[in-house]
Structures are given as structure tokens and as C-alpha cells.
Subunit: 286 residues, 2 copies
DNA sequence: GCAGCCTAATACCCGGTGGGTATCAGGCCG
DNA sequence: CGGCCTGATACCCACCGGGTATTAGGCTGC
């Protein structure tokens, strides 16, 4: 049985995401018949049915869902080969550190300063991305290390070093009754009917049910808070980007948030190792 | 720039491992000229030199070493797609748990019993492998979960659950002077000139320097111990497979060994989740 | 109930490219 | 200097991945 080719994986992923052979073929820039044929050959080779063909398109079987998950990981790994190899060929390549736009700059600044102070330190490029994208960028080789937040981010499959632990605060409009409180509980925060908590997309892109507005990016969220449409529970250090007329109140029983440095587990490059050392040194005495 | 195909990765890995185009072509079952061409196209597409061509074959550049590491991971991921998808299509597939041959059966037995006791438990197949192979089998989809040992095994990239912590013992011939002691230290054990400690291969397959015999498998080792050629420092629970005329003495300052359950981080299948729950429950009251 | 559509599947053709064979080129060695 | 062992070049072929045209089968709506 011949091995899978990445082309076949890309074809499968396209169909699995579109659930429609025609649109998937469009997206791939090929015609529909060869795509249908490729998928059926794939099913035949694997001995597994991946789609239930329906008049209205196609739906994934259980095996298809497994394959989709695995295929995405494999394609990221293949992309990472190309990216990391190219970057390794560049003699004075910088490290790429990715972090959420809007997260605290203070910790990052200290980390960069500490690392730059070491002799022969590799320069570090900082890449800002939207919430939840760090893991993908790390996996597909766009970035070398990431600042992430437990328990929010998907840390599966990475090596990590804890940098900082902090509590969370609620961000409220200044005039709101709760804004005068010294502290709040999660129950109180979740029970405010006029300020429902915004909903973030899940890993698969869908949104949980609930009254709050759907939100994809930090800037959307910032705007909604400015409009007084929602409230936020965020790490204390993120207070930096609150609007002038908002108030931060500690939420005493919210889970603690740990800022971690994460990197892909394979073969520690010296540059990454040095950065991790700097990070570890930063934490213990500080 | 077209994406990398797994065929190209396999070609590259073959050459990188053989460091010889002719032998690599042999191994791949193709002729040498197309292989040379494929590699040079690859270098051209990536814009990176991967090999220094020498008369006596080829040697890897720095970028080539990066690519080799990344390629192996990517190929494992692609293989895992096929394996896991096939297995997902099998309606009553068992979970495959891999563990080192020769490790303690006691803990494993308790784990299997605990899991089997739950209603609707998935059957579990046990796969035995040689030292250090678990990680690869887990990565390429041959196994679903593994019993591994920190700090010995390569746990990078897996989710883990600690199961058991224990000290280590030295295994000696019964007649040896140190066999009469109540306990030993690492320094004493390493200083026995007539019983040098055996050497295991590193991750890349090479052996560290030293006086002890080179060893690849548990059975080789068992034989050497039986012959009185070497001594062992091993987790206390592995005492089970000692020969009749050998003696176990605790090594007080040896690092503690943690037995962990490890599994690939992507999308927790219910079956794995149930096994992990059983494992966690096993640990806390026990 | 039949016409029209929207889906995926089938039939068939074509060209690019991956692979084979034969050969070349250049150092090391005897 | 001549064998020889390396990778590189030249050239050819056939396979298969992709395109176009068409079919098949439902659901929808008039």
C-alpha cells in the first residue's frame, strides 16, 4: 500500500472542510471529477469510508473526523519542514516569538531585555497574532516560540516554561453598579443580565451558545467593551489596554492564569534553549 | 512555490541517513539519477543547500540537519494519519497500549483491571517494544497510549499523567562485595571497575563512550547481567525480572523514576480519556 | 408528474513529470 | 596512468493526475 502524499491530505481536508466536492475543487484550483476520484481512491486504499455522500453534498463519518484532525496536524508538520529548513539556511536568522496582540507587554519586554543582555544573543522578532492562533503558528513553523496563557490556550504538544501567575479582573463600564465593588465572584459576574460575557470561537471555529456577542479578535472585543455591550474577565496584567472610562475589579474566585513560554518539542536549537534559560532566570529571582 | 510532498521527504531522509545517493536510491527502490535530480530540485525550491557533495558521498549541512529532524516528525505524522484513520474505521477496535518489555507488569495489570472494571470499557491490546521505541510508535500511530518512564524516555510532545514514583536499585551478582551492603550511592556504583555500567544508544543511534558493553535490548542486557559482565541501576519495581543469583541493593541518591501514561495530544478520543481517568483514579487512592 | 436544478459519478483524452538506461566527469588509489 | 567509485547529465518513455463532456439520481416547484 503506497504511502499517503500531502496532496491527498490537502484534497481530503478541503472536502472535509467544505463538505461539498464542487466548492472544495474550486478552492483547490482543480476540477470536480478528479477530486471525486482522488477521494474515492483514498477511501479504497485506506479501506475506510470517509464521507457519507448525500444529495446535498457530503458529511464526514467518524473515521473521516479522525482523519481530518490527524491530517491537519500532519500538514502543519510538513509545512514546518519547509519553513524551518529555509530559516535554518539563513545565516543570521532571528528567532520568531509570537504572542497575542493585546497581552501584557511588560513581561515580554523584560524577557527580551534579559535575553538581549546575554552575550551573542540571537535577535528576536515579535509576531503578534489573534487569540488562539499561536499554537498553529508554532506548529507550522511560522514561529519558534510563543507566549501563551494557561488554561486558555491549547498547549498540547509543546514544551513549556511557566513565567508568571496572576489572578483575573473584571472590566466594567465605569457607571455600572458592580463597578463600585472592591471585589467580585465569578457567579456575580456571570449573573449580570445587561452585560453578557462575549463568546469566543472553539477550536473548530464554531461558537458556544449563549446571550453574549460572538467575537473573534481582540479589537472587536475592545470595541464592544467600549460600547458598554459586554464585560470581560481577563488576567490582571491585561488591564493595560482598558479604556479610560472602564473600571477593573478583581474576581476573587476566577481561575489563576499562568503565562508560559512554549516551543515545539523537537530538537532544541541553541537559540531557543538560550531564550528559555533567560526566561527561567527571569522568573526565579524576580 | 509548490508544497513539499511526502515522497520528497522520504527521498531526503533516505539520503540524509545513508549519506550516499546510490545506497539511498537502492533503499528507495529507484535509480540513482532521478534521486539526485529530486534532491537538487528540492534544494533549489527551498533555496537552501542540504548536502555538501563530496567524492566519498555527501554530508549534511546545518540546514540539512534541521530538515532531517523536521522531516522525520512530519513523516511520522503522515503515517499516523493513515494508521489512525484505518483503525477509526474499525468498529470494535481495541486501544493499543505500548510499554517496554521487561518493565513492571504489576502497575500495568492494575491499570488494565481498573479500566476493564468500568462499564463499556474499550478492550486494550498491549504491545511490547524495546527501550526508547515507545515515543516513535506513539507518534506514527502504531499505538494510542504508552507507559513511559521519566527521566529516561523522550516525553516531548505528549500529554502525560503521572502514575507512580519510585527509587532505583542496583542489581549485582550475588557474590560481589557490594552485594552485602544495605544501600549504595551512585558514586559507589559507578566506581566498580569490574562491573562497568552498560551503555544504551542515544536518540540518534550512536553510543556514548565508556568502558561498559553496548546494549540495545532488554534481553541482551539480561544476558550480560546473568554473565556477571555488568551491573544495573533500575527502578525498584523492575526487580521482578532479576535472575535468581542476583541481588538488589537500593541506590539512595539515584534520581527517582516516575512511571507515566503518555498519549498524543490531539483530540482526546473517548477511549483514551476513559483510560486516563482510570489511571488517575488508580493513583490517588492507591 | 414532469421539468429543471444541483449534486456526485463516469468516460475518455492529454500532457507533464517521475522514473529508467546509458553515459559523462572528476577525484582517489594502486 | 588506468580502473573505480562517486554524483551529474542527457534522453526517452509511460503512467497518472488533471481537464472536458456527459451521465445518473434526487429533491424541488410549477
Amino acid at each position: 500500500m503506497p504511502d499517503l502524499e500531502t496532496r491527498e491530505l490537502r484534497y481530503f481536508v478541503a472536502v472535509a472542510e467544505e463538505l461539498h466536492f464542487g466548492r472544495a475543487a474550486d478552492r483547490l484550483g482543480i476540477a470536480q471529477p478528479p477530486l471525486s476520484r482522488a477521494i474515492r481512491l483514498l477511501e479504497h486504499r485506506l479501506g475506510v469510508q470517509l464521507f457519507e455522500r448525500d444529495r446535498r453534498g457530503a458529511v464526514l463519518t467518524d473515521a473521516g473526523r479522525v482523519m481530518l484532525r490527524e491530517s491537519r496536524a500532519a500538514l502543519d508538520a510538513v509545512e514546518a519542514v519547509a519553513r524551518r529548513t529555509r530559516r535554518a539556511g539563513d545565516p543570521n536568522r532571528p528567532l520568531v516569538l509570537v504572542t497575542k496582540a493585546g497581552a501584557s507587554h511588560e513581561l515580554l519586554q523584560r524577557l527580551l531585555d534579559a535575553q538581549a543582555a546575554e552575550p551573542g544573543a540571537t535577535p528576536v522578532d515579535v509576531l503578534l497574532c489573534e487569540v488562539g492562533e499561536q499554537a498553529k503558528l508554532l506548529r507550522d513553523g511560522h514561529a519558534d516560540v510563543a507566549l501563551m496563557h494557561r488554561p486558555f490556550d491549547d498547549l498540547a504538544g509543546f514544551d513549556t516554561e511557566d513565567l508568571h501567575v496572576e489572578g483575573q479582573i473584571a472590566l466594567l463600564p465605569a457607571g455600572h453598579p458592580l463597578a463600585a465593588r472592591e471585589q467580585l465572584t465569578l457567579a456575580e459576574v456571570q449573573g449580570v443580565p445587561d452585560l453578557p460575557i462575549a463568546r469566543w470561537p472553539r477550536l473548530d471555529g464554531s461558537y458556544p451558545d449563549g446571550p453574549g456577542p460572538e467575537v473573534r479578535t481582540q479589537s472587536q472585543l475592545a470595541q464592544l467593551v467600549a460600547l458598554g455591550k459586554t464585560l470581560l474577565v481577563i488576567p490582571a496584567s491585561s488591564r493595560a489596554w482598558q479604556w479610560p472610562d472602564h473600571v477593573a475589579v478583581p474576581v476573587v474566585d476566577a481561575p489563576e492564569v499562568t503565562t508560559v513560554l512554549a516551543w515545539p518539542p523537537n530538537g532544541h536549537s541553541p537559540a531557543i534553549a538560550a531564550l528559555v534559560r533567560a526566561a527561567a532566570a527571569l522568573r526565579s529571582p524576580g
